[in-house]
């Protein structure tokens, strides 16, 4: 892979993140409406408002506020949570780890299952298997996550009888079995939609590749079907699937907010909802910025993977 390509992509990511910090800052700080009053309520005394303004540095011009904020971030200091009396870094850090564990579990499971399923559907195009997978995909994409979550809860986590707990969290390094039980339903909820999405993408891409001239040429060389599929067809169908997966990370970051709330999973989503309800500005800023960073970096990662899969991209 050429370094120029990588550096150009990295430059784009940095640019995007710079714009994001600005947007996050602008929305929470500069927009009309005094943040201190929003936090304290309409009936706060002017003294209390002035004190909070000083604490939040709202009395200073906006560019000073921005620079203070951004230089804090550069040192890893997002300020203090207004409600939890803890450093934002600590609050957000814990939640981030929890969310990352959930998202990664969902994503890895989905990828491992969906890609072979999609490929299988393409190879067996028009057969009962393909049809069944197609139907499943439609169901998966058309059900919103709160419906899937409710169904899973009703059927698999009924009080006392269901095999899975209805909510809560156990870290994998504390008890792997406990973690597995707790992560199963939220991961399945997130996964169903992604699975359908990715499997369909792989199927359509794979079908196209399978009908291409070079697959015909490979078969006419007498190559085994196994080699035709694994060496010639699959890698070429993967690049678009990776692009879809990276877009799906965007969806995952949104979906996680709903799913964490339903399953009482102590991650970024729950924290964000809590912070919004309590107008905990530093936490809102940190979480938003973190989500944007994860999204931008996952896009960068997918660009790199695509470039590795398809030599034509590397020099584009």
């Amino acid at each position: 892979m050429s370094w120029g390509y990588f550096i150009r992509r990295l430059f784009a990511v940095v640019l995007v993140l710079a714009i994001v910090t600005f947007a996050v800052f602008a929305i929470t700080t500069v927009l009309p409406g005094n943040a201190a009053i929003m936090i304290l309520g309409e009936y706060a005394t002017p003294e209390a408002v002035a004190a909070l303004e000083r604490q939040l540095r709202l009395d200073q011009p906006w560019h000073v506020q921005y620079l203070t904020w951004i230089s804090g971030i550069a040192r890893g200091d997002f300020g203090m949570s207004l409600r939890l009396s803890l450093p934002v870094t600590q609050v957000v850090g814990e939640a981030f780890v929890n969310s990352a564990v959930l998202a990664a579990t969902a994503l890895v499971t989905v990828t491992v299952i969906a890609i072979p399923l999609g490929a299988l559907a393409a190879i067996k195009r028009g057969t009962a298997i393909d049809l069944a997978l197609g139907l499943f995909s439609y169901l998966g994409t058309s059900l919103p996550e709160f419906v899937t979550a409710t169904l899973l809860l009703v059927f698999l986590a009924a009080p006392n009888t269901g095999p899975f707990p209805a909510g809560g969290y156990v870290a994998p390094w504390e008890s792997l079995a406990g973690f597995g039980a707790h992560v199963a339903l939220p991961a399945a909820t997130l996964g169903l939609i992604l699975m359908a999405h990715i499997a369909r993408q792989v199927r359509s891409e794979m079908s196209e590749v399978l009908s291409s001239d070079y697959i015909r040429a490979a078969r006419l060389k007498g190559l085994s079907e196994r080699r035709v599929i694994r060496r010639h067809a699959l890698p070429n169908s993967m690049a678009p699937a990776v692009a879809v997966i990276s877009l799906d990370i965007g969806y995952l970051l949104g979906g996680i907010i709903v799913v964490e709330e339903i399953f009482a999973w102590p991650g970024l989503g729950r924290l964000l909802i809590y912070a919004l309800e309590n107008r905990d500005l530093p936490v809102i800023q940190a979480v938003t910025l973190l989500l944007a960073t994860v999204y931008a970096l996952s896009n960068l990662l997918s660009d790199i993977v695509i470039a590795l899969l398809d030599p034509r991209v590397r020099y584009a």
């Binding site: 070079y214 078969r219 060389k221 007498g222 085994s224 030599p311």
Partner: protein, 559 residues
């Protein structure tokens, strides 16, 4: 003696068994409207070391024949009898697994377009080596060594380096050499060449043909050479079969088929091959009068971005690609100007500049007024200069009826009153020799040649003074091509419109054009009167192009 005879005959037959023999073979495809016949009672024999040409136009069944021999048929194919024998062995009896062992080892194939028949994400070396690993049980390392040798035999100068490349890092000719090396790798008994030069430039095609002839002599392989191009086939084959609507209408040696064709369709096909010495164009305008003059026209693609200009000015200048540079020529009223060049030579870029579709540098002189940028091109100019594109499928809106398509410029430029449009569309259809009731059809109900006529009718509807024809015959069969060329000449005669005819077909252009411009790498390298085509002071590139055109046999046959 009687008891001995069968053995002796069998032994003799064993020796003489042809590489491929097809007997009374028929094929149909199941469709929603019932079975459609694709091949009818085909008889074809290829002796050991012999090359047989299979010539036909699109839809004649020549590709189906190739798939039948390779036993690579779609699920809806229906074989209705006959035999296909490879060295006496009945291929129809083999299981798919047995066939997989034969493909690539005992018979292989070279395809039309090397840019689609090579896997874009696999190094060229692996694509050759995998056949050797599959069929000769070599290890990867051994196979790569063999692959290098195979590639070297195709005349690639640095085969080792080429093996490490991906398809997009090689030129069309290099890629086709890789495909050919792959086909020859396991020393097969039979190779099927399916239009192996159609997707290549004239000069590259010529080299590939020479390579084919050389390898054939070296290896004594038997080959089936499938093509639509009679002139080309005559250069490489010993025997030729002409296929038309799924049936072989004529077979024999090249000389016999070309000199004494017995079948009407063969005669028609031979007659349609453009003969550069037979002039069919309109009379040269009596006093040359300039219509449009191009002065130092340049078109840049891939202009450097602001980022590049700021940070890497040196690289920025390098990344600029000139689609055309310093092109100066004039187009005269009523003439037919031929623009010739290979793909990527800039001939279509010039067409786009003339049609006002491309930003340009330099001047466009129209009737004494100099246009210096695309923005200055006005409505009157656009009406005056019409363009016909290569692919009518892409340039005709599939949702509109033919009447709407042709009526559009009539409405747009107010050429006839609204209530006369239908009548005028009918006239235009008649002008391009199509029935007037085609106005109610959609493009998909027409054949390729008919669609191109519609596109031509639309161009002439605006009553322009210049029509640009950008490779209008390239996608058409030879016989349709001749008819379209005839039609253009007739329209020029009737309307006095000038025409810029862009093509890579030198034979055709020498039949039509008064003057010929030759382009290479975006520059105009030669510009001459048709009569001077063979003059000594022609640019070397022009000479090379003229020499690369395969035509002798077909033309001799016409005379």
């Amino acid at each position: 003696m009687t008891s001995l005879a069968p053995n002796v005959i069998e032994a003799a037959a064993e020796k003489q068994k042809p590489a491929l023999s097809i007997r009374n073979y028929s094929l149909a495809y199941n469709t929603l409207n019932g079975p459609v016949s694709a091949l009818k009672n085909i008889d074809l024999t290829i002796g050991k070391g012999q090359t047989v040409g299979l010539v036909g136009e699109s839809g004649s069944g020549k590709s189906s024949m190739a798939w039948s021999i390779m036993r690579y048929l779609p699920p809806n194919a229906l074989e209705t009898g006959g035999a296909i024998r490879l060295a006496g062995e009945e291929l129809l009896d083999y299981t798919p697994r047995q066939m997989a062992d034969i493909r690539g080892r005992r018979m292989s194939m070279v395809f039309q377009d090397p840019s689609t028949s090579l896997n874009p994400t696999i190094r060229l070396g692996e694509q050759i080596a995998e056949v050797l690993m599959r069929h000769q049980g070599l290890t990867a390392a051994q196979a790569w060594v063999e692959a290098e040798a195979a590639l070297a035999r195709t005349g690639i100068t640095r085969p080792k380096e080429m093996l490490r490349r991906f398809p997009h890092e090689a030129s069309g000719g290099e890629k086709q050499r890789v495909v050919i090396a792959t086909a020859f790798a396991c020393e097969p008994e039979l190779i099927i060449f399916d239009e192996p030069t159609t997707a290549l430039d004239i000069l590259t095609a010529r080299q590939i043909l020479d390579l084919f002839n050389r390898l054939r002599e070296e290896t004594n392989v038997s080959a089936l050479y499938i093509s639509h191009d009679l002139g080309l086939v005559s250069r490489v084959v010993d025997e030729v079969s002409v296929i038309h609507r799924g049936a072989i209408v004529e077979s024999g040696s090249v000389a016999q088929v070309f000199r004494r064709p017995t079948d009407a369709y063969t005669r028609h096909l031979i007659g349609a091959v453009p003969n550069p010495d037979r002039w069919i164009g309109v009379e040269r305008p009596s006093h040359p009068e300039s219509l449009i003059r191009l002065e130092k026209i340049g078109v840049r693609y891939n202009s450097p971005s602001l980022f590049q200009k700021l940070f890497k000015p040196a690289a920025a200048e390098k990344s600029t690609f000139w689609g055309a540079r310093d092109v100066s020529l004039d187009i005269r009223k009523g003439e037919l100007l031929g623009v010739v060049g290979e793909s990527g030579s800039g001939k279509s870029t010039i067409a786009k500049v003339l049609a006002g579709l491309e930003d340009f540098e330099g001047n466009l002189d129209v009737g004494g007024k100099a246009l210096t940028s695309r923005k200055e091109i006005d409505r009157a100019y656009r009406r005056n200069v019409q363009i016909v594109f290569q692919h009518p499928d892409a340039s005709l809106n599939p949702r509109q009826k033919i009447g709407t398509i042709i009526g559009r410029p009539l409405k747009l430029y107010g050429i006839v009153p609204r209530d006369k449009i239908t009548a005028r569309v009918a006239e235009l259809l008649e002008m391009v020799r199509l029935p007037a009731d085609y106005a109610n059809r959609h493009p998909h109900q027409l054949s390729g040649g008919e669609k191109q006529r519609v596109a031509i009718a639309r161009a002439f509807a605006a009553e322009p003074s210049l029509v640009i024809c950008d490779e209008v015959t390239a996608a058409l069969d030879v016989s349709v091509q001749a008819a379209v060329a005839d039609l253009l000449v007739k329209l020029q005669k009737d309307t006095g419109t000038a025409c810029v005819f862009i093509t890579h077909d030198l034979n055709l252009i020498r039949q039509l054009a008064h003057r010929i411009a030759v382009m290479q790498h975006g520059r105009l390298v030669d510009f001459f009167d048709r009569d001077d085509a063979r003059a000594d002071d022609r640019h070397p590139y022009t000479k090379a192009l003229l020499d690369a055109v395969p035509v002798q046999e077909a033309v001799e046959a016409q005379n």
